[in-house]
Amino acid sequence: MKRLALALALAASLAAWGQSTEIANPDPKVEARLKTIAHELRCLVCQNQTIADSDAPLAVDLRKQVRVMIGDGKSDEEIRGYMVDRYGDFVLYKPPFNAVTAVLWVGPGLLIVGGFAALALMIRRRREAAVAAPPPDAARQREIEALLAADPDGKSRR
């Protein structure tokens, strides 16, 4: 029991050590807006995390900065612009559409459309090939039917 308590205490202290000195705004509206904005911004220290998720010192600083800007009455657009001015488009998880990102945005759609077009073309060609095959002539047809009637299960061929 004692050991368990000790382990729990240690675990709790570890969590405290990992936490930074971040003071949330008492206004839940500010925190809610911070959350939506921070979820769209990339933390440049740990690049696959948003600044909402990351505990890197830079992410803490940027959250602090976003809180200040919300307090100053800045719009979401202005806050995103502030970050892009400093860290480039890379900071946005949803990059804007421009010459550099065009392939990124349009590429997957083009691939899907192209794939379906190729598939449709292939199906049509096969169907045409099937239609184009010459039907057996009448004599050959009779021969086939006679063979089938003589040996309906195809046993003699095994």
């Binding site: 440049l44 220290v45 830079l58 600083d61 940027l62 400093r86 890379f90």
Partner: protein, 175 residues
């Protein structure tokens, strides 16, 4: 024609080229939006003389480096001999931006490792760091006579980066 059977192979080859190029790139090297733009203005107290302040406009007419460093920054230790060497040779004035550091820790660190800076300024809350898009120390900005940022070194200045990129750029800017 059997040529159509080569199509998947060709697509695969193109994919391979894209992936191979991707492998050679460093995802930590984020292109800075500041290249070719004026260095953001700031006013900060100097590290060694807290009463005196500095702003980038005071370096007008000079080509200079703004080097972001901190005593807690491990890579800065790797870079520091290069900066000391540059200072000894008098290659370019270097201003230090001491980033999110305690004043006592920072001055002690310079005593231990040498001080290659004309002076350092003290950015305790990292606000100027944010204005310069700093996301890790060390980072170094090359700023020209008109106060325009011409280059940003992300991570330590290696002897190789100095030789290949920074020295030729400095020569061009000073010409």
């Amino acid at each position: 024609m059997k040529l159509k059977y080569l199509v998947p192979l060709a697509i695969f080859a193109i994919l391979c080229v894209f992936l191979a190029v991707g492998l050679t790139r460093d995802p930590r090297q984020v292109p800075s939006p500041f290249i070719g733009k004026p260095a953001p203005a700031f006013t900060l107290a100097k590290l060694h003389e807290p009463q005196a302040s500095f702003g980038p406009e005071q370096m007008r007419g000079k080509v200079w480096l703004l080097n972001v460093w901190a005593s807690w920054c491990v890579s800065c230790r790797i870079e520091h001999p290069v900066l000391n060497d540059m200072n000894r040779k008098g290659i370019v004035p270097i201003v230090g931006l001491n980033y999110k550091d305690a004043r006592a820790d920072a001055t002690k660190w310079l005593q231990q490792h040498g001080d290659p800076y004309q002076f350092s300024v003290w950015d305790i809350d990292g606000k100027v760091g944010i204005d310069y898009g700093v996301y890790g120390a060390p980072e170094t900005f090359v700023i020209d006579k008109q106060g325009i940022i011409r280059y940003k070194q992300i991570g330590p200045i290696t002897p190789e980066a100095l030789e290949k990129t920074i020295l030729p750029l400095l020569a061009k800017l000073n010409a």
